[in-house]
Structure formats: C-alpha cells, structure tokens
C-alpha cells in the first residue's frame, strides 16, 4: 500500500444555477492578464451543448487522454513516437477559433465621442490584435441553448443515442443542465505524462497538478493531452498555464476562489487518501469496471492499516483527520452519489459530479401543456435527458451507475418529504429507501450536507504544513541570525 493524499472535489449539479460567478472569480484572480484572456480555468457549460473549447469531448479530433493498450495505457495523441512526429506541428491542438477570440469594448468612446445625431457606441475590439472585430463566438456562446441545432445537436455525447435523441428536441421536452468544469487534478494526469520538458508535476502533499513556468518550453503537448482541455497556452508569455486550484489560498486555509464564491453552494472540497500502487491497473481496466475501480482506489481514512501506511509515507496526522471529515469522501465513497466526468479518458479525475435529478417530461396535448405525473415528481426513468446521455457523461456509458445515483437522490427527496410534509405514502418511501439501501439517518445526513452545509462542512482543507516543505529544501539553521528587515535606505544614524 502506497497511501497518498489528494485534494478532491464534488460538484452537486442539482444545485448549480448557472450564474458563472465561479468563472468570474477565477478570471479576476488568475486569467485577466495579457495572453490569458481567452482562458477560462473554470467554465460553466450548458449540457447538451458543445462546450468550451468547442467539442472538447471529441477525442477523435483532439486526441486527448489515454487509451487502453494491453495491460497498460498509452497517450492517445502524444507520447514518445507520436509526440516526436508532431513536435514541431501538432495538428490536434485546439486553435484560438476553437476557444474564441477574446475581446473588450472601447468604453471610452461613450464618453469622448463628439456631439452628433447618433448615439455613440462602444465597439468591440480584439484583445489579441487590438483591432475592431466582429464577434463570432464567445466562451459560453451556447449558454442555456439546450435545444439548439448548432450546439445541443452537435454535443459529442449525442452521437451514441440516435432514436432517443429526437424526443429531446421536441417542443416542451427540451432541457438542459449546467456543467461547471475546472481542472480535475487527475490521479493519472495525461498532461504530466505528455510534457517533453518535464515541466508538469503533481504536487506530493496534496496532488495539485502544476506547470513549472520556468521549465515550460511551450511544446503544448499538455494542451493536446488533457482530454478536458484544461491546459492552455499563453501566447504572450510563451508558456502553458492551467488551474492551480488556488494553491496559495489552500495553503492559507481558504477555499479556492471558485469554491468560495459559489452562489448555489454546489462545491465541496476535501482530502481523499488513495493507494498509488493501483493507479496503472485501475487506469487500464475494462471500460465497464472503470467507475467502480476508480472509486475503489480511494481508501478508508478510519482504517488503522491505512493510517499506519499513510503516516509511514509522511502524511501528517492533521491531513488524515481532514480526510476523515472530508465531505468528498462521504459523497464519493460512503454514499456513492458522485461520479467522475468522462471516466473513459482514463485519467482518474478527482472532480466528481452529483448528476442532476431532472424533472419528468411533459407533453403538449391539444395545445394544452400537460406536466402531470402519476406520482409527485415522476420516476427517474422519465427524466428529460435520456439516461444514456447522462451515462455517456458520467459513467462511460454504464446507465446502471447513473440510475443508482438518481434513485438514491429521489429516495432522499421522498424521505425528507415524508419528514417535513408527510403527504407521501409510508410504504412508497420505505420501498424507495430499501431499494437504494439507505437508512433514515444516512438520508438525513445526505440532506444536511446537500442543503444545510456550512462553509466549514463544505470545505475541509488540511493544514498545508509549508514549514515542513521548506525544511526539506533548505536548512533553516543556515539563515538563523541572518534574516531580518533590512533597509531600503541606509539610516544615517547608528554604527
């Protein structure tokens, strides 16, 4: 057993209201610099939709992620030979048009325009060239366009479900949900594996994946390799950049900006302990087993054997305690409510999603909108988004996995309805609870962590122990008696 600690995340999609506050918080802190304007380390997509960059899920185009290769995995788009072949021209890399050309408006013109017959306007100008541009698309151009032919129909996940698909585009049956995305800080990161310069690394103490800006040589193999397209090339600095999970904030005990600012409180963050020896075997397992084996790689932080192995690996007791309190552990491991996004990319992402429990389908009969259902909410088998679609997103096509989660969410909802309103039949509730193996207490806990969780319940951040990291790099006794304030201007008095 090779126990390591990882900061992992859960996004509860039922709670996401699509306000993009997370994206703006991130942008204002990290990516409003020159060359980074087009990057959205955090973005919120509308699903079904093509996302950002457009069709990022289409790995036949972008060649991101891993593919199974016998008992192991190999990179789909880069790697030793493929990387060398494309080292000076990598045709699978997204171009600026696949993202969008960033722009701003000449607001000053509104104030400085000379008096005239026409209303002054603020023209859009490109943030790349500085020239006026015709805006063709933006980072979130398909926002809320869940039924559109240009975006929803071109969703890569739609390809697998032709007959069911048509029902989704009928009037009154269109639907969408939001999908906020950040870097998954994967256990088996394709970006790290692809870098010819060795500039990317996974931080030992918390598993945050970072790009060393001094070693980056702009090969951009990480941009291709990341199947989630969360590594970006800064054209101004000539270095690639990615989400840093606000590690300076984590180190000082604060939640990352996108987590902290989340209006719907959909985000949870905490430590998971995992067994690093299993990574290769899990990443290269059969596609149907991927989700289960991925979740199995995380270990029980209460198990004495795990605690012993973790301590032997240098994990601080405070981190283990944080792992025991981790909300992510509860969602992913205990309750099995959260699923990884596109596990078939085999990067073992550490960001999990609680899928949205979508409303049942309505219909139009004789011009009357009919949304009545047999029971209060309708069954999960009548959800608007086909189960196959959700399975394509969260379980590599395994509909059972998604159905299990949705059944649990429904059971919790029915249980709470029974507690607070009491208008549902008791046997109906107990049937739902039995089917999903939930006890009343667990259901209450799920409800509490979903709806009533405080800041500290949602974000359990382990102390960073930076002092230990510094002591590993340098001997603090060397500077004893030598450091202090110093002067900018030498004082005229004294010796």
């Amino acid at each position: 057993m090779n126990i390591r600690s990882q900061i992992a995340m859960v996004f509860h999609l039922d709670k996401c209201i699509g306000c993009h506050t997370c994206s703006i918080a991130c942008k204002n802190i990290w990516t409003d610099r020159k060359g980074a304007e087009y990057m959205w380390w955090n973005n919120v997509e509308t699903k079904p939709g093509t996302g950002y960059p457009t069709k990022w899920e289409d790995q036949e185009t972008y060649k991101g992620g891993w593919e199974k290769n016998g008992d192991t995995v190999s990179l789909k788009g880069t790697g030793k030979f493929k990387g060398l072949k494309n080292i000076f021209h990598n045709p699978y890399m997204p171009v600026l048009d696949d993202y969008y050309e960033p722009w701003t408006y000449k607001y000053q013109d509104l104030f400085t325009a000379p008096e005239g017959d026409d209303q002054p306007i603020a023209r859009p100008v490109s943030l790349v060239t500085g020239e006026p541009i015709e805006i063709k698309s933006g980072p979130n151009w398909d926002d809320d366009l869940g039924g559109s032919p240009d975006f929803a129909r071109k969703d890569v996940n739609m390809e697998k479900l032709t007959p069911e698909q048509e029902a989704m585009f009928q009037l009154e049956r269109m639907t969408f949900h939001y999908l906020p995305r950040i870097c998954n800080h994967c256990l088996n990161p394709a970006c790290v594996a692809s870098c010819p310069s060795g500039a990317l690394y996974k931080r030992g103490e918390d598993g945050v994946v970072l790009i060393n800006q001094e070693r980056c040589r702009a090969w951009r193999m990480c941009v291709t390799a990341c199947p989630y397209k969360k590594s970006y090339y800064n054209w101004h600095t000539g270095k690639s950049e990615k989400c840093v999970l606000c590690y300076p904030r984590l180190e000082s005990g604060q939640a990352p900006a996108c987590f902290h600012s989340c209006v719907g409180r959909i985000r949870y963050l905490g430590v998971l302990l995992y067994d690093a020896d299993k990574i290769e075997a899990v990443a290269s397992c059969k596609e149907e087993e991927l989700v289960d084996r991925h979740i199995d790689i995380y270990v029980d932080p209460f198990d004495p054997a795990v605690i012993e192995a973790a301590t032997a690996n240098g994990i601080a007791m405070s981190t283990i305690e944080a792992a025991q309190k981790s909300p992510v552990y509860k969602f992913v491991k205990l309750w099995k409510l959260a699923l990884p996004l596109h596990p078939e990319y085999r990067t073992l992402p550490n960001l999990f999603y609680v899928p949205a429990l979508l409303p049942g389908m309505a219909s139009v009969q004789d011009g009357i909108y009919n949304s009545t259902t047999k029971s209060l909410w309708g069954g999960i088998d009548t959800t608007r988004l086909p189960m196959k679609y959700l399975a394509s997103l969260f379980s590599a096509g395994n509909t059972e996995k998604v159905a299990d989660v949705l059944k649990k969410l429904m059971a919790v909802r029915m249980h709470r309805r029974g507690v607070t309103v009491g208008d549902l039949k008791a046997d109906e509730i107990s049937q739902a609870m039995k089917e999903t193996n939930l006890s009343g207490n667990t259901a209450d806990e799920i409800f509490r962590l979903t709806s009533l969780a405080t800041f500290d319940d949602r974000f359990v951040i382990p102390p960073a122990h930076r002092e230990e990291s510094i002591e590993m790099l340098e001997n603090t006794a060397d500077v004893k008696g030598n450091t202090g304030f110093g002067f900018k201007e030498t004082p005229a008095r004294g010796l």
Partner: protein
C-alpha cells in the same frame, strides 16, 4: 593711324600668345584623354566600349560634344536624336558624366583633332596596341589570382580596395559582394572584353571608382588577372543558365516530401471546430 597700329600690335601679341599656348593645350588634352577617355575610347583604333573618336571634331559641333560629355543622359532625355542614336548603337551603355571644365573638353577635342589629322603615332595608340598584346589566352592560374584579388584574399600591390567591397559576381564559392556598384558577372562581354576592361581598370571613368583608385592604381598584371577572372565568371554563368538537374531534382523531392506529409497527416484536424456554425452565421447575416 596710331590707333590702328596699336590695334595691330595687340592682334599680333594675342596671336603670339595664342600660338605659344597651343602646345600646352594639346598636352593637357592628351593627359585628360588618357586619364579620362582612353578607357573606353580610341582614336582610329576602332570601337572599344564607346565609339572611336577619330574625326569626332568634324562630325559634331563643339557644343554638342561638351553637352554629351558633361551629362549624356540628361542630353538624351532633352530629345537630341543623334545622342539617342549613339546611345542605342552601343546597347544602351551609359557613358558616365564627366566633371570636366569646358576648357578641358575643348583641349581634348583639340588633341583628338591633332591626332586624327596627324600621322604621328602617339602614346594612347601605343597603349592600345600594348593592351591588345596582354593576355590573349587565359590561364587557370590567372583566374585563381583574379578571384583572389576580387575577393580581397590577396591585396592589390598599391593598396586599392578589393572589387568585392562594391561589386557582386555570381561565381561558385565566392560570397555575395557589395551592392553599391553594378554586378560584374557578365561585365566581360558588357564592357567590351579584355580591351574594355583593361581601359576601365587602368583609368576608371566612374566617379566613385576614379576617387577610390586615384592614389592607388592597379598594376597591369593585376588588371590582367581580374579580367581573366571576370571572363571566366561570364562563361560559367552562361553554362549555368541552361537546364539544372540539381534544381529540378530538388523540386521533385520537395513535391514527393509534401505528398508523404499529406498521407501521414491525412487525418489531422484541419479546421476550427466552430467552422460550420461560423459559416452559417455569416450566411444568415448576409
């Protein structure tokens, strides 16, 4: 009466002065001709670079000659048919403008007149015949030496600047030269062969070159070497001008290489993923 005799005295005096001046003028004319004109022109020895000037004083008016010498191009542009005819006859080779005073030109004309009329074989003619005798056959050794002089790997004995500082010549292994003056690759034929080059180099008629080689002229041996080298350069160039298998082979290889790349990267992503709906948007706008 008295008055008349004084006038006569003055006339006689003037005549004496004039005649005593005559040989002096002729002498100046000779020097100027050798230094300035002799490079391209002969008197009675045939066309070299420019026309033979024998009897030019009879063919043209003095003013005409002065105008042409001082600024042939401007003169041609002013619409003089004779000047244009001469310019065309010599394949549009521009005669450099000569910064000479009118008296000097007149002196040269007088000298040419004397030479045309007189039978005496004078120096420049002797010179011209001497030049004809110099290398009639070009040895490889001379070409090599000429190349060395041209490139500057061998210095001129009197310290003149090497040719490459202002001129370029297309020759295997010779680096690209200066662009201040004309390309000399085909200068051998252009400047009238050996005789022309010899003349040009022994007393350069171009203002910049005149100034550069005024105090450090080239020796006849150096001139011979350079003209041999330039002759070789001209000949080699005309050889190259034909079919070049290396160039054609390179071009074919380039096409083949592109073919391989096309096949190898056939399945590449060659469009933006947004292309389709960008195009539809534009269609919708229009």
């Amino acid at each position: 009466m008295e008055c008349k005799s004084i006038k006569n005295v003055i006339r006689v005096f003037a005549l004496v002065v004039c005649t005593s001046q005559l040989p002096l003028i002729a002498q100046n004319g000779e020097a100027t001709f050798k230094q300035t004109c002799g490079a391209c022109h002969t008197i009675g020895k045939g066309k070299v670079v420019g026309p033979d000037l024998m009897n030019v004083h009879k063919k043209r008016k003095e003013e005409w000659i002065i105008k042409f010498v001082k600024g042939s191009q401007a003169f041609i542009k002013s619409g003089d048919a004779d000047a244009k005819a001469i310019f065309d006859e010599f394949n549009g080779m521009v005669m450099p403008d000569q910064p000479l005073k009118d008296e000097d030109i007149k002196a040269v004309i007088a000298y040419i007149g004397a030479q045309s009329d007189g039978a005496a074989v004078s120096e420049p003619v002797a010179d011209a015949s001497a030049k004809k005798e110099t290398p009639s056959t070009v040895t490889p050794d001379q070409i090599l030496k000429g190349r060395a002089y041209f490139e500057g790997s061998m210095a001129f004995s009197k310290g003149g600047a090497s040719c490459i500082s202002c001129h370029n010549v297309n020759y295997d292994g010779v680096i690209a030269g200066g662009v201040l003056a004309k390309d000399l690759t085909d200068s051998y034929t252009r400047l009238g062969g050996e005789a022309g080059l010899n003349g040009m180099l022994s007393s350069p008629p171009f203002p910049a070159m005149t100034a550069a080689f005024k105090n450090n002229p080239l020796t006849s041996e150096e001139i011979a070497a350079i003209s041999a080298f330039l002759k070789d350069a001209g000949e080699k160039k005309s050889e190259v001008a034909g079919w070049n298998p290396l160039l054609l082979g390179g071009f074919a290889g380039f096409i083949v290489l592109f073919g391989i790349i096309m096949v190898m990267w056939n399945k590449r992503k060659n469009n933006s993923t947004k292309k389709e709906y960008h195009e539809r948007q534009i269609k919708a706008i229009n």
